[in-house]
């Protein structure tokens, strides 16, 4: 029999807030985490603004030993471990140094790259004939599964410990994979989430593609403009989001706080066929992903109260809105509320899906719809499909029942999740 699956813990390391309290405050109040980035300016990037979480050395030392932090240079692992451990503790689970691993708990923690700064450091040493001086942690910091390996060790996880990777869909996919594993009874709890490195070496390729905005180098907080007529490309971001996904029975038995239920979801790919390419989504696949997620969740399209979109602030935003409208067969005032977290944090790439899912779940749990910022000039193509009132620019405090969250990534991959307010 399929298990019901719930979320019992959250952890967040976002450009506009590290920790649940700071992040919840930021998203309710439309606080931007986008800042001028001196390093991008020095390197003559077109886009010289970014969204980076602020992590002090003092905070790092609460999650890593001094020894672990020696020669440590992997921002993605740093963010992922902080978010992951926070979610674990938020779920009321103990961090123990047991002899035996916890066979019932695992982690599926995704990323696009790992320790790209450490990788760069290593490459310079190797080319300088200094391979023997790389140190003992160059592998652990740069292997893609570094983040799940660090988390697995800190928490003593004995179930599946892995890292998934599907570009900007990564975080949404990790939650769905965790959901499926628990639904099938193969694990009692999975720490799901994703992370993304910070800095020029991860963002450079996007800057070269001219998909990042170069029009807001002096007005960083106005730079990320999803759904706006003046949207001019995404703002690069980074961070990590983590969700403790748990079997309902286990959660109830230990009296855990339940943030929300995961009703279902879907991942697919447009196969880079039709209108789909390496970088552009095949709209048929996007719509199919949404339709299948709704069917998997066993709900009707009209049950969706809020959509948390992918909505990056590129020319593709209008197409995404069109896809939602077609998939749900809803438009105008009948369209669900829709928001994009990227207006406040930028595009956190492989971390986007998990960071935005944490925001989605907070809305369900606390009963609010966070505002979109920088879309006072809504794109006319979007206004033609969705009534302006459904794109809030101020927080709306009201109970909501179902949130649909989707992410789309390079490689023509899609992911959609359906979260529901928990009622037993």
């Amino acid at each position: 029999m399929n298990k019901r699956v719930v979320i019992t813990g959250l952890g967040i390391v976002a450009p506009n807030g590290v920790g649940l309290e700071a992040f919840t405050h930021a998203i309710k109040n439309g606080i931007s985490g986008i800042k001028h980035d001196p390093e991008l300016e020095r390197l003559q990037f077109s886009c010289q603004i970014s969204g980076k979480p602020e992590i002090s050395n003092e905070l790092s030392l609460r999650y890593f030993s001094e020894l672990e932090l020696r020669n440590f240079n992997s921002s993605g692992i740093l963010y992922g471990v902080i978010a992951g451990i926070d979610a674990w503790k938020d779920a009321g689970l103990p961090v123990e140094n047991n002899q035996d691993p916890d066979w019932d708990s695992g982690t599926i923690f995704g990323t696009g790259t790992s320790g790209i700064d450490k990788f760069r450091e290593s490459i310079y040493k190797i080319d300088d004939f200094q391979t023997r001086r790389l140190g003992s942690t160059a592998v652990a910091q740069t292997m893609n599964s570094g983040v799940s390996a660090y988390l697995g060790g800190k928490l003593g996880l004995g179930n599946q410990v892995t890292t998934n990777s599907s570009a900007c869909t990564t975080g949404t996919e990790s939650i769905l994979m965790a959901y499926e594993r628990i639904k099938q009874g193969k694990a009692k709890r999975i720490l799901a989430g994703s992370t993304s490195d910070s800095g020029p070496y991860i963002w450079g390729g996007f800057d070269a593609m001219r998909v990042c905005t170069f029009k807001h180098n002096t007005t960083p907080e106005e730079g990320s403009r999803p759904m706006s007529a003046s949207a001019s490309g995404f703002v690069p971001g980074s961070g990590a989001g983590a969700l403790l996904i748990e079997d309902l029975e286990t959660a109830l038995a230990r009296g855990a706080k339940i943030y929300a239920e995961i009703l279902g979801g879907n991942v697919n790919s447009g196969g880079q066929r039709g209108l789909g390419t390496m970088t552009a989504p095949n709209p048929i696949a996007v719509q199919k992903c949404i339709v299948n997620a709704i069917a998997d969740a066993g709900i009707k399209p009209e049950a969706i109260d809020v959509i948390n979109g992918h909505l990056t602030a590129t020319s593709k935003d209008s197409l995404e809105i069109q896809n939602w409208s077609e998939a749900l067969q809803r438009n105008g005032l009948d369209f669900p509320y829709i928001n994009s977290l990227k207006s406040m944090v930028g595009h956190c790439l492989s971390a986007a899906g998990s960071i935005e899912s944490v925001a989605s779940v907070l809305q369900l749990y606390h009963g609010f719809i966070f505002p979109n910022i920088n879309c006072e000039d809504l794109h006319p193509e979007i206004k033609a499909v969705v009534d302006e009132n459904k794109i809030p620019q101020k927080v709306i405090n009201q109970d909501i029942d179902i949130v649909a969250k989707a992410s789309f990534g390079f490689g023509d991959v899609n992911g959609c999740l359906i979260f529901k307010k928990f009622k037993n």
Partner: protein, 85 residues
């Protein structure tokens, strides 16, 4: 260099890697890095890099393989230092 001085300097270097504090306090020439001090075997390469830096010497792979206890470390450091002069 005096053996006692090398031991004191060696203690400073290995301190961050040691997991067995009691054995560390009672460290002698016969103390074994892995068995007694419970230094993670992967960290031994970091200890060796730190030693190289401290004494400005290069420890070859063969010496590295032998450097599993305080006695061998002192021997290797002394030899490499003598070679430098």
């Amino acid at each position: 260099m005096e053996k006692e001085i090398i031991i004191e300097q060696l203690k400073e270097i290995i301190k961050p890697y040691v997991q067995e504090k009691e054995a560390f306090e009672a460290l002698t020439e016969h103390t074994d890095f892995i068995n007694d001090l419970k230094i993670n075997s992967a960290n031994l390469v970091d200890v060796i890099l730190d030693i190289e830096e401290k004494y400005d010497i290069v420890i070859d792979n063969e010496s590295m393989e032998r450097m599993l206890n305080v006695k061998a470390a002192i021997e290797i450091i002394s030899t490499k230092l003598a070679d430098k002069i």
